[in-house]
């Protein structure tokens, strides 16, 4: 009896969040197959992967930022700004590669502004990025007003909606695969990754062990800006549309994916694998619901609920464990007490 309890607990500890997510992904795939026979077709998976590519891109740097116990709510606004800017530059007949480059640079500047305010003035990232959420979306409206630009060259829009030759993988998704690999190596196999965990775990300890926290956070916010701008460019080509309100509300899905992926609010925990799996899970759920003709407003409810559950569930598990530990300790104490009484 006393032998079996610790071993089950050890087993429970070994079942990582990633394993649970992988299982959930399998269950979702199975459910999708049962619910709809179109689910496992090549076209549908091509659609499924393409539909969450922008959110997946933004979730990568965001998860690193959350691991350092900061947050970036302005990602969707940077996406909108980059998309509008690309449209404006194209309207002014600027060569497309140059336009793309300018968008990425502007994204970097936006991220740098976030980083500067957070690092230099030690302002809470939550407050700063609520401010820049409004500011960058405002810039997008200043850039493009209520106009829409749609006449993008076909070689670029073909990239947006096309697939990698001989596969069902959408071309923009390749960007995500490459970046996910880069972020995986960065977080799990470099000193930068270790210092990200250290900063999230205990900022003071990290500073005393020689981590340049300011530079680290600055870099992460700039990366978030650049990749959000990239997501804006992908969005523009995928829908062949540049509007100031592009991607409004995407920050919810990105943040939901990050937290569902096992990154904790307190920071210091989480893996790239977990985030990728949770993105896949959200993508599949959205896809299955869309195939079942569920309205898009229900999708919003589902994403919001997933976000809350992804934090509520670990909290409930943790408090249950805590209570169990307390009960066990009380029992052990009682046993000790009875032992000493018999002596």
């Amino acid at each position: 009896m006393s032998q079996s309890q610790p071993s089950t607990r050890r087993l429970a500890r070994r079942i990582s969040w990633e394993t649970i997510l992988a299982l959930l992904v399998f269950i979702a795939v199975g459910g999708g197959m049962l619910l709809n026979k179109d689910f496992l077709t090549v076209e549908n998976w091509s659609n499924l992967l393409a539909n969450f590519v922008e959110i997946a891109l933004m979730a990568l740097p965001l998860s690193l930022i959350v691991i350092t116990s900061e947050i970036d709510l302005s990602v969707a606004s940077m996406l909108g700004l980059s998309s509008s800017l690309l449209g404006l530059l194209w309207e002014y007949k600027l060569a497309m590669p140059l336009g793309i480059l300018i968008c990425l640079v502007v994204g970097a500047l936006c991220g740098a502004l976030n980083g500067f305010l957070i690092v230099r003035f030690r302002l809470p990232s939550l407050a700063v990025t609520i401010g820049t959420l409004a500011l960058f979306r405002g810039f997008a409206y200043i850039v493009l007003g209520d106009k829409a630009v749609a006449d993008f060259p076909t070689e670029y829009t073909d990239f947006g909606i096309g697939t990698v030759p001989y596969t069902f993988i959408p071309s923009p998704f390749v960007l995500f695969i490459v970046l996910a690999a880069i972020f995986w190596v960065l977080l799990h196999h470099t000193t930068i990754g270790r210092s990200i965990y250290a900063t999230g775990g205990n900022q003071t300890a990290a500073r005393f062990s020689g981590v340049n926290i300011s530079r680290l956070k600055m870099l992460l916010f700039i990366a978030s800006g650049v990749i959000s701008a990239l997501a804006g460019i992908v969005f523009t080509f995928r829908f062949s549309s540049s509007r100031a309100d592009n991607g409004t509300g995407f920050e919810l899905s990105a943040i939901a994916a990050v937290f569902l992926g096992g990154v904790t609010v307190q920071g210091g925990k989480g893996t790239v694998t977990g985030v990728v799996l949770s993105l896949l899970l959200i993508g599949i759920i959205n896809n299955v619901l869309t195939l079942a003709d569920v309205a898009s407003e229900i999708l919003r409810i589902v994403t919001g609920t997933l976000l809350i559950i992804s934090i509520l569930l670990p909290n409930l598990i943790a408090s249950a464990q805590e209570r169990l530990r307390l009960i066990q300790r009380q029992r052990e104490l009682a046993k000790l007490g009875s032992l000493s009484a018999t002596k």
Binding site: L123, V128, A134, L135, G138, Y141, G145, G304, T305, I311
Partner: protein, 340 residues
């Protein structure tokens, strides 16, 4: 004894200093300067009609600012208010459509109750689920709005569906001031006194300035957090009913995005986002400043697309100013205590 002496010697100077340094007087000054400048460029800016419009525009935001102040003072945030306003506004409209002849008071009470219920969802998740307020209310912002879209389903409440007696709340005036503004002013008085002179109010501040110390002082933090989000929800419910009275037309997008205006007003009004600091009077003045600023932009013929960017910039400026003031205050305290 010693503290008394210290106070008495610097009393005269202190009063002036406090007056100059207080956020409220600075805001009043800023509003006055902005009004004077715009009036000199366009005298119509202070015509009775545009003043009435200004008061009407600021009223609903100012009302929501009251609830948000309670929340931010506790170092929390409530992003979901705009969705609550949207739902309760449409709810009030459908009540008038489905039950012709229903008294306006009942509709307002039902709207407040609905807001209270939605606030209870936030309160439960935050206080007893231990989910950070930001995450919870970001989630419920979308859940409530999504539910609203699903429920409204492309329908619309029009002014013809609403009894004119109810619509007059949004248009009529009493002693030159719109009725809507009177409602907000009376609630402002309640909140100002409640936060300043009652234990509940002081405990909100205590939780915001140091949550751990508040727990040690015997404050039931969870319950206070829950009360805060209930208040915020109820206020949003009232604001929803008044939204219908003010605009008459309500669809699924009603009040979308106003949470940013409300939070910006509150923070510009001196309620520090780091908690524990600020007054409702300041916060409402912040809302007034923002409203004057945006009508200034309109009068100066600045394209309306610039509004949101300005709002974001003002929020950032206010946060930075608060942090700078807190930093300076901490330095001054350190110098003062090193002398003692």
């Amino acid at each position: 004894m010693m503290t008394k002496e210290l106070k008495s010697t610097s009393a005269g100077q202190g009063c002036l200093n406090v007056l100059l340094r207080s956020r409220e007087s600075n805001l009043v000054l800023l509003i006055a300067v902005m009004t004077a400048l715009t009036t000199s460029l366009n005298p119509r800016f202070i015509s009775p009609q545009s003043l009435k419009d200004l008061m009407l525009n600021v009223s609903i935001i100012a009302l929501l600012v009251l609830g948000q102040t309670v929340i931010i003072v506790m170092r929390q945030i409530d992003l979901s208010i705009s969705s609550i306003v949207g739902i309760t506004a449409f709810l009030s409209g459908t009540l008038f459509i489905n039950h012709p002849g229903i008294p306006g008071v009942v509709v307002v009470l039902i709207a407040i109750l609905a807001g209270l219920l939605l606030g209870a969802v936030n309160a439960t998740l935050i206080a007893w689920g231990s989910i950070p307020a930001l995450i919870t209310t970001l989630g419920t912002l979308y859940i409530f709005r999504g539910a609203n879209y699903a429920w409204v389903h492309g329908r619309q409440v029009n002014a013809v569906n609403v009894p004119s007696s109810f619509l007059t709340i949004g248009t009529s005036t009493f002693a030159g001031i719109p009725l809507l503004t009177w409602i907000v002013l009376s609630l402002l008085a309640v909140f100002a006194i409640g936060l300043r002179h009652y234990i509940v109010g002081r405990e909100f501040y205590a939780i915001g300035s140091n949550p751990n110390a508040a727990v040690l002082a015997g404050i039931n933090v969870r319950r206070r957090l829950a009360i805060g989000f209930l208040i915020s929800g109820a206020i949003a419910g009232l604001a929803g009913a008044l939204w219908l009275a003010r605009f008459g037309t309500v669809d699924a997008t009603a009040a979308e995005g106003i949470e940013l205006t409300v939070i910006t007003s509150t923070v510009v009004g001196g309620v520090a986002i780091t908690g524990g600091v600020g007054t409702v009077v300041g916060a409402v003045l912040g809302a007034l400043l923002l409203s004057v600023f945006s009508s200034t932009l309109v009068f100066l013929r600045v394209p309306s697309f610039w509004q949101q960017a300005f709002q974001g910039a003002m929020l950032l400026l206010a946060i930075a100013a608060d942090a700078y003031l807190a930093h300076r205050h901490a330095l001054r305290l350190r110098v003062k205590w090193s002398r003692v």
